[in-house]
């Protein structure tokens, strides 16, 4: 009973002691798992690259009292194309960071695992639209977590919103001008931004790579979605704060 098998994506690793690492994995069946990988930092380790972030692995774990222990690891997909490109690493890491934040240890969440796997697969093949993919990933993650934003009608009075509207993080959707007194922290948003928002929500991630969105709209949407995510996770993600520092054109 103390050994179990599972498949998962390595989210991050931390150094432990001299040569070990604590590996955080998003599994399909056991939610988030934190496990010790012994000796991985030694260059002759049998695990080597198998437990690097972004890798999708089949694992055999020993159930420990506090942390589990990795006894076997086989690569399903190393997604190594992500490591070959700086933007892929940067935006891929931002996805790993959010998945790490929302996943819960021992709580099965197949849709989160599938979403992350699909998003990483798409990002490993693209050379553009990195930020748009991240925005779409965030939106889809919020949707599967039960926070699908309401974008068609005012969240309060259900009327069609006019040209002037606001986005309420608290109510999770758009508000008409009259109702916006209900939430002083709502943000002004254009109908064009909401249109793009809706498109990203509906389109599969693989189609977003080919999308052509006006830079200003993407900027607006990025901020709205970032703040929406922050509102629900009740904190800020370090990986997002630094996105500006990493990108340069």
């Amino acid at each position: 009973m103390s050994l179990y098998k599972t498949r998962g994506i390595v989210l991050r690793t931390h150094k432990l002691g001299e040569a070990d690492r604590i590996v955080t994995i998003l599994t399909a069946n056991h939610g988030k798992v934190r496990a010790v990988a012994k000796g991985v930092r030694k260059t002759k380790s049998k695990f080597g690259s198998r437990l690097e972030p972004f890798t999708n692995v089949d694992l055999v774990l020993y159930k420990g009292r506090n942390l589990d222990i990795v006894t076997q690891a086989e690569i399903i997909d190393s997604l190594s194309e992500i490591r070959d490109n700086f933007d892929r690493i940067t935006y891929g890491s931002a996805m790993l960071d959010l998945a790490n934040k929302v996943s819960v240890e021992g709580e099965r969440d197949v849709s989160l695992y599938n979403l992350l796997l699909r998003a990483l697969d798409v990002i490993s093949k693209t050379r553009k639209n990195f930020r748009l993919l991240l925005i779409a990933f965030d939106i889809k993650l919020m949707a599967i977590s039960g926070y699908m934003p309401k974008l068609e009608r005012c969240v309060i009075c259900e009327k069609k919103t006019g040209a002037k509207m606001r986005f309420s993080f608290e109510w999770g959707g758009v508000m008409c001008e009259e109702c916006s007194i209900a939430d002083r922290n709502s943000a002004a948003v254009s109908s064009a931004t909401i249109e793009t928002f809706t498109r990203l929500m509906r389109l599969p991630l693989s189609d977003i790579v080919a999308l052509d969105v006006i830079a200003r709209l993407e900027d607006d949407l990025y901020l709205i979605v970032r703040d929406y995510v922050n509102y629900y996770i009740e904190s800020k993600l370090k990986s997002r704060d630094y996105l500006g520092q990493f990108t340069y054109n």
Binding site: R12, K15, L16, G17, E18, A19, V40, R41, K42, T43, K44, S45, F47, G48, S49, R50, L51, E52, P53, F54, R83, N85, F86, I89, T90, S93, A94, L96, D97, K238, S239, D241, Y242, Q245, F246
Partner: protein, 199 residues
């Protein structure tokens, strides 16, 4: 946790702040020191004192040194046209053992880590650019660790430095991914240096 007398609790707390040390190990270390002889314990205290008093970072390359500039930066016999970029001072030890590199070093004191929010401004990138602007450097060899952070750092630096007309090389991928540079044996590391490729 049990209640310990003030100084004991304080020492446990201090140990627990060190990297890789949890509360249990911190307790174990503390009780080890309680049991050891006063001379042994004072030796440790003095060693910590001295390292903070006498050792600082080389103002040129950020290696550790007991002088203003480290031994490598002071050595005029080293190749002044090549800089090898590494994450930590201890990586210099590993590279020197190979005998393959005779140039200068630059210690970044970390690596870019997007997931931790550690960006180029948090490590010694600006200082590297400054050196490249002041010296006649022909090649920058990037020897960051073969893991995500090391690769991200290497790619960032290549994009930044190549436009300056300087050759940027990365030590060969013969090094196993996920391993730390400091643990690589000198034969493997020497081969990786020899087989470095232009980025």
């Amino acid at each position: 946790m049990a209640y310990y007398a003030g100084p004991v609790a304080m020492l446990i707390d201090e140990f627990a702040k060190l990297p890789g040390i949890g509360p249990k190990t911190a307790q174990r270390l503390t009780f080890h020191i309680l049991k050891s002889s006063p001379t042994e314990a004072r030796k440790l205290a003095r060693a910590i004192d001295e390292v903070k008093d006498k050792i600082s970072f080389c103002e040129e390359c950020f290696n550790v040194t007991d002088q203003v500039r480290c031994e490598f930066c002071r050595d005029a016999n080293r190749d002044q046209e090549a800089i090898c970029v590494i994450e930590e001072p201890r990586d210099i030890v590993a590279l020197e053992k190979t005998g393959e590199f005779r140039g200068l070093y630059h210690v970044l004191q970390g690596a870019i880590s997007p997931i931790d929010g550690i960006g180029p401004d948090d490590i010694r990138v600006r200082e590297l650019l400054k050196r490249l602007g002041e010296k006649e450097i022909k090649e920058v060899v990037i020897a960051t660790n073969p893991n995500i952070e090391g690769e991200a750092t290497a790619m960032y630096l290549a994009r930044l430095i190549k436009p300056l007309g300087i050759t940027v090389t990365r030590i060969a991928s013969g090094l196993p991914v996920g391993g730390d540079l400091e643990y690589a044996d000198e034969v493997t590391l020497g081969r990786a240096l020899e087989g470095r490729r232009e980025m």
